[in-house]
């Protein structure tokens, strides 16, 4: 009898334990999937992901046509992915597991080394497409008697390669690619302003953001000084700013740059302190964007308002990228007109160049879809005095764009 009672007690304990475990699994599993459903069905849709720097897909409206051809399903899946509850928390969790459990050193092509994030490019390129463009540009500019210069900044991976920062297992063709770019310039007799001469010996923390692929405005300023020294032969009346003229300002709060957004937070050891340089008396220029959108400053302080964790403060410089920007001195110090062919690397420098040249035009071929412009026509019609490329060496994708944009 006593044995039977004991056995019954044991069974009862087992049942209770089984009930508890089953309840945890049922609540955990069903709670998660039903919560996901509820958020999608009744929650407010997010419009934008700052961490990814893009607009998020929204719930599509069904129609017979889109259902039959499957586009509704595709759009629904895209919105389901983008609007999933706690999206970034899941992404960070995955990155955490990847880094701390699976010991993967890289994520999305970015590696973290001593607080700095790098995106080495393992693909070698001969820049032949850019070579074709350089040749055509030289022909056009020679006819118009406009000299060209190419200011070549070392990208972060090139700097890391030269400094021996990358571990042995990291494949980086960046330094080799830089050599190829310079070879194409030499072949086409475009004078090179090799900014590595100035930046190569500087401590990395002084010239590059830790978490972004861009250089710091301080690094851009050192490069500006080298460029001005070189251009002074052609533009003797262009005044050059010096570091003593500048004031370093800081943005409150952390800055998580493009690489931090790519690799995601578990790989980021510390954020950047975002700084920018401004002449002590302020900038004395006005900017027009894409033709007639005028009245802007080279520092777009709107970016600093309503900032979030992943606000891209780099857009402070020139207010982001535009196909065409024109910086005009409020009181012209000279009549020089410099045409800068650039990508976002050049943005902090444009403000400094604007203080030196009466007019600085900047064309960014990546955005020519937004504004109909031709590089050669622009240079001739606006009677520019020189063309200056400001790029880093990671521009192997630009060759065809430049050819089309010429």
């Amino acid at each position: 009898m006593e044995q039977q009672t004991k056995s019954e007690q044991v069974r009862s304990k087992r049942r209770r334990l089984s009930w508890v475990v089953n309840s945890i699994l049922l609540i955990g599993f069903l709670g998660t999937i039903f919560y996901g459903l509820a958020v999608y069905a009744f929650g407010t849709e997010q419009a934008r992901s700052d961490s990814e720097g893009r607009m998020l897909a929204q719930r599509p409206d069904p129609s017979v046509e889109t259902i039959l051809d499957g586009t509704y399903m595709e759009e629904f899946e895209a919105s389901a992915n983008d609007q999933v509850f706690e999206r970034y928390m899941w992404i960070e969790t995955q990155a955490w597991v990847q880094r701390n459990v699976l010991q993967q050193q890289m994520n999305n092509g970015v590696i973290s080394i001593d607080e700095f994030l790098y995106a080495p490019d393992p693909v070698a390129s001969d820049y032949s497409s850019l070579g074709v463009f350089f040749k055509e540009l030289q022909k056009e500019m020679s006819e118009a008697d406009i000299p060209s210069y190419f200011a070549s900044a070392p990208s972060k991976p090139v700097y890391a390669t030269r400094q021996g920062i990358f571990p042995d297992y990291i494949e980086s063709a960046d330094a080799e690619n830089r050599g190829q770019l310079h070879a194409r310039l030499e072949e086409n007799e475009i004078p090179l302003i090799d900014l590595e001469e100035t930046l190569g010996d500087q401590p990395g923390k002084d010239i590059y953001f830790k978490t972004d692929h861009h250089w710091r405005p301080e690094g851009a300023f050192m490069a500006y000084e080298q460029i001005m020294e070189r251009l002074s032969e052609q533009f003797p009346d262009a005044p050059a700013l010096s570091m003593e003229d500048m004031e370093i300002k800081s943005v409150d709060g952390p800055f998580y740059g493009s690489h931090a957004r790519e690799i995601s937070m578990p790989y980021v050891e510390s954020p950047d302190q975002f700084t920018y340089l401004e002449p002590k008396d302020g900038f004395t220029t006005t900017v027009c964007r894409n033709g007639d959108d005028c009245g802007h400053s080279v520092l777009d302080t709107d970016v600093l308002k309503n900032s979030t964790k992943f606000t891209n403060y780099y857009n402070l410089f020139m207010g982001d990228n535009y196909a065409q920007s024109k910086i005009t001195q409020n009181k012209k110090k000279n009549d020089y007109h410099l045409l800068v062919l650039k990508d976002s690397y050049a943005n902090p420098m444009l403000g400094y160049l604007g203080e030196s040249f009466g007019t600085v035009s900047a064309l960014d071929v990546r955005y020519f879809d937004d504004y109909d412009v031709s590089i050669a026509d622009y240079a001739k019609e606006n009677e520019v005095d020189a063309v200056l490329f400001v790029h880093n060496d990671r521009i192997r994708g630009l060759g065809s764009m430049y050819q089309e944009g010429l």
Binding site: L25, T32, R54, L68, E77, Q103, Q104, S264, R394
Partner: protein, 476 residues
């Protein structure tokens, strides 16, 4: 729709579970049928008609074999028509382009490639439908008079896209009469989560490595990298497929269905024959019961046995895909299984276990090269690199990178492909039924729940992060 997608996890599955469990018993099969058709239509709306045609055709054949069972002539013609109908449909949609391409190549014709898109899961649902008619013919399963119930058997979403190939006799009773229990449901959750984890955490990580390696020209690979690539692929295909089977079995269990196992640690096999008893079990048993044995199996002397094996393995290769590499892969296994039957099996049995195991793994891994390669040329070149016959490097920086970056996940995957983790977990979880140590029993039970929820959370993180798409425009 994939099980490992946000649409399935957070929209389709909860809606189906809700509809199913609030519905009265008489409506449950209808709910499962409608949602299964929706599941199929999600990716391929127009191909639902093909699956419905297959269902109706085999529904009619079921009646015919039941009616003509005792009429030798009519039943023969009915079975021939059934085979022609099903295999014809499979042939048109899966093999027409392959057929035209080869006819053009051999005879110098210039027939137009029909370029017919492949309906998702057609190989699986066709084999299931055929299994129904054959089982009815053999009296292994009863005639299904309710078209909707037969449609549910063929189209039930857990096993629709990637199996396991559920034999009609396995679920015939459960289609009309089943009980859903909390214990089954929880066990289904556990199985589904384990499958999701296999797919998302292990298969996809290994798959990334395999894709990167196999996307390169074979001549550019070092020997070490080629081995890393094929090992990664071996692990990917196992965890991908067995993970999907686990999810299917788990989902079935949630709704009261009990599918048979489809994988049983194939990479611990000590012979190729054993490997195929552990790998894609539902396909192997389908061919054994519906092709090999009806052909006479091994009962008509050695030569007919080899003939039957050749046919079965040729068909196994063809079933996997319309390509000569798949056919070669099937015949490759057929040859080893015949060799094992002739003499190799005895040798392997006499060898030390580790040697037989290593030999089998070696054969299987080499076989995956044919399975993964796009064509024979690439497969041959790849094998040359694996054995250092290409004159290239043995080790390079890229191999070093993959070892550092993916070494841990590859090692974890290798361990997970053995029964070791399951044995360790089982050893710990046996305390759950401990009678004299209640604290330990409770800890084991709670640890099981925590482990499953942890895997579920990590799997979701992998599902969501696979959609992470940072727009950094250009890296300048």
């Amino acid at each position: 729709m994939l099980f490992s997608s946000t649409v399935f996890l957070f929209y389709f599955l909860p809606v189906v579970l809700l509809l199913y469990f609030v519905s009265p018993r008489w409506l449950k099969n209808t709910i499962l049928l409608v949602t299964s058709l929706f599941f199929y239509a999600w990716g391929e709306p127009r191909f639902v008609l093909i699956m419905l045609a297959s269902i109706v055709m085999n529904y009619v054949f079921g009646f015919m074999v039941d009616k003509y069972r005792d009429d030798a002539k009519k039943i023969k013609w009915t079975m021939v028509l059934m085979l022609l109908g099903n295999l014809g449909m499979l042939g048109v949609f899966k093999y027409a382009s392959f057929f035209v391409e080869n006819v053009n190549s051999v005879f110098g014709f210039s027939l137009n490639d029909p370029d017919i898109p492949l309906p998702l899961g057609i190989s699986f649902f066709t084999f299931q439908a055929m299994s129904y008619v054959i089982d009815v013919y053999r009296n292994d399963g009863r005639l299904q008079k309710n078209l909707f119930d037969l449609a549910l058997y063929v189209s039930f979403f857990p096993q629709l896209i990637a199996g396991p190939i559920v034999r009609y006799q396995t679920v015939a009773d459960e289609i009309v009469d089943r009980r859903e229990t909390v214990d089954d449901f929880v066990s289904g959750i556990q199985r589904f989560v384990i499958g999701l984890g296999k797919k998302m955490i292990l298969a996809n990580s290994c798959g990334y490595v395999a894709d990167q390696v196999f996307s390169q020209s074979a001549g550019d690979l070092s020997t070490t990298l080629a081995w890393i690539g094929v090992i990664a692929y071996s692990l990917q295909i196992y965890f991908d497929f067995s993970g999907y089977s686990d999810m299917a079995i788990g989902l079935g269990r949630m709704f009261g269905f009990h599918f048979l196992e489809n994988f049983n640690y194939p990479y611990i096999s000590k012979s190729v024959s054993e490997f195929w008893r552990r790998w894609h079990i539902s396909l192997g048993s389908w061919f054994r019961d519906y092709v090999y044995i009806p052909l006479g199996g091994n009962r008509q002397g050695p030569w007919k046995t080899y003939r039957n094996l050749t046919i079965v393995w040729l068909l196994t290769g063809v079933w996997h895909g319309a390509s000569w590499t798949f056919i070669a892969w099937g015949l490759y296994y057929g040859i080893f299984i015949m060799l094992e039957r002739a003499f190799l099996g005895k040798w392997l049995a006499a060898w030390p276990a580790w040697l037989a195991h290593a030999f089998t793994l070696f054969i299987v891994v080499i076989g995956w090269v044919f399975f993964r390669a796009d064509n024979f040329t690439y497969a041959t070149e790849y094998l040359q690199v694996m054995f250092g016959l290409h004159g290239g490097e043995v080790f390079d920086q890229t191999a070093y990178y993959y070892i550092v970056q993916y070494g841990v996940v590859l090692v974890i995957s290798m361990i997970a492909a053995t029964p070791l983790p399951k044995m360790l977990v089982a050893r710990f979880l046996r305390h759950e039924v401990s009678t004299d140590r209640p604290v330990l029993a409770a800890s084991a039970g709670l640890a099981r729940a925590a482990y499953i929820m942890l895997i579920f959370g990590i799997s979701i993180s992998y599902v969501v992060s696979s959609t992470f798409n940072p727009f950094i425009y250009f890296r300048f």
